[in-house]
Amino acid sequence: MRVFVYLPFLACIAASLLARPAARRANPRIATWILTATGLALAIAASGALALLAFAEVARLPSVAAYGRWSATAVGSRVPVPWWIGVIALLCMVAISVDVVRHARRYGQALVPAIHIQHQSQTEIIIVDDDSVYAYACRPWPLRPGVVLISKGLTRTLDDDARAAVVAHERSHLAHHHALYQLASVMIGALNPLLRPIRREIDFSLERWADEDAAAKVGREATAVALGISAAHATRRPRAFQAGLPHAGTRVPERMRALLEHPASRGRAILALTLSNAVLAAAAVALAAHNTELLFEILRK
């Protein structure tokens, strides 16, 4: 338990550092898969490690020790976790729980009306009577076809080709169930603040994935133009409803550059490294859990 229980946290930091170069260089589809798998595995491993550390603290309480039939003083001398680390772990768990509840509430607030919109719509595209410039893909319920929401402001701003790029982009989100990846990314960020960079890179890779699909349909330059014009106009719209945005700026310049510069699909090594981090962390926390179990077997009278 001694070292292994801390490994998942190191793995989180390492994976977060690797996430950005991985997302920038690799094929966005593969980057999305690997970052999501890595993020979920690390979030679970780190939560497990945190739970173990917190448990070491709780096990010292006389009432808990009596219930588990081990000696509280024996735990104090045998469990290799300093008391202050246990306290920190407990506090982190409380803070994370509060954050998870907050995220779940805000997610629910958006989910219900979004499912309503999805189920009410008879057509794949809804033109929203709104002067602001935006387009969204909406498929919160994966078993039903999704809806593309396009504002009148956007249809007025873009010409035919650019509109086709936007529709192709949103359809890619719908066809590949990006809503599910996005849900995973929200969970990853909520479960472990150390993994927030991975969350950002998953969101970025999803946009890049849809950009590449649009580019395959209407051309790289046309997609970049659509992106640039929409972004330039999105800046000038009234800010009434942007309060809920968790991360401002969707790295539009980076996406445009990727479209215009035809990046070679590299970065396999970085992705492999990122993923191996998660495997290592999962193995480490499993080992730590096993050792803890053995230790408490011994401590049991």
């Binding site: 809804i126 051309g219 970049a224 809920g244």
Partner: protein, 135 residues
């Protein structure tokens, strides 16, 4: 004259025809096969032209189609109801975490990003035009 001139003409014509085809589809209350669309257009364009336009509109998601016999029947695939608009605006305004529910195209830019976007946009347009002139 420049090479671009003849290429520009049919493009503009296409856009106009597209609008006419769309209004035909919007006006009709059932899906239409290309022949029916052609018949309802003012100065009946060639059948293949109508087919091309319907195919393009389908690619853009502006129309949906279903097989009727051996031909596709087309229908305008857009909801423009006030009720739907109201629902979407309410969702966008409610301050919840819609990033997990809706995948966007673009969002707000920072000032430095805006400058960068303008520069890239000039570059992209330039290259797009050059590409088209070659075709």
């Amino acid at each position: 004259m420049s090479k671009q001139q003849p290429a520009e003409e049919p493009r503009r014509g296409f856009g106009e025809l597209e609008q006419q085809v769309l209004s035909v589809l919007w006006a009709a209350d059932t899906p239409l096969i290309p022949r029916e669309v052609q018949a309802r257009l003012d100065d009946a364009p060639a059948y293949t032209t109508v087919m091309t336009i319907l195919d393009r509109l389908h690619g853009k998601g502006t129309v949906t189609r279903e097989l009727r016999g051996r031909a596709y029947a087309y229908e305008a695939a857009v909801t423009e109801s006030a009720a739907a608009s109201e629902r979407v605006r309410a969702l966008l305004a409610n301050g919840s975490d819609r990033s997990a529910v809706l995948q966007g195209f673009v969002d707000v830019l920072s000032d430095s990003d805006a400058d960068e976007v303008r520069r890239l946009l000039r570059d992209a347009r330039h290259r797009d035009n050059a590409k088209r002139a070659r075709h």
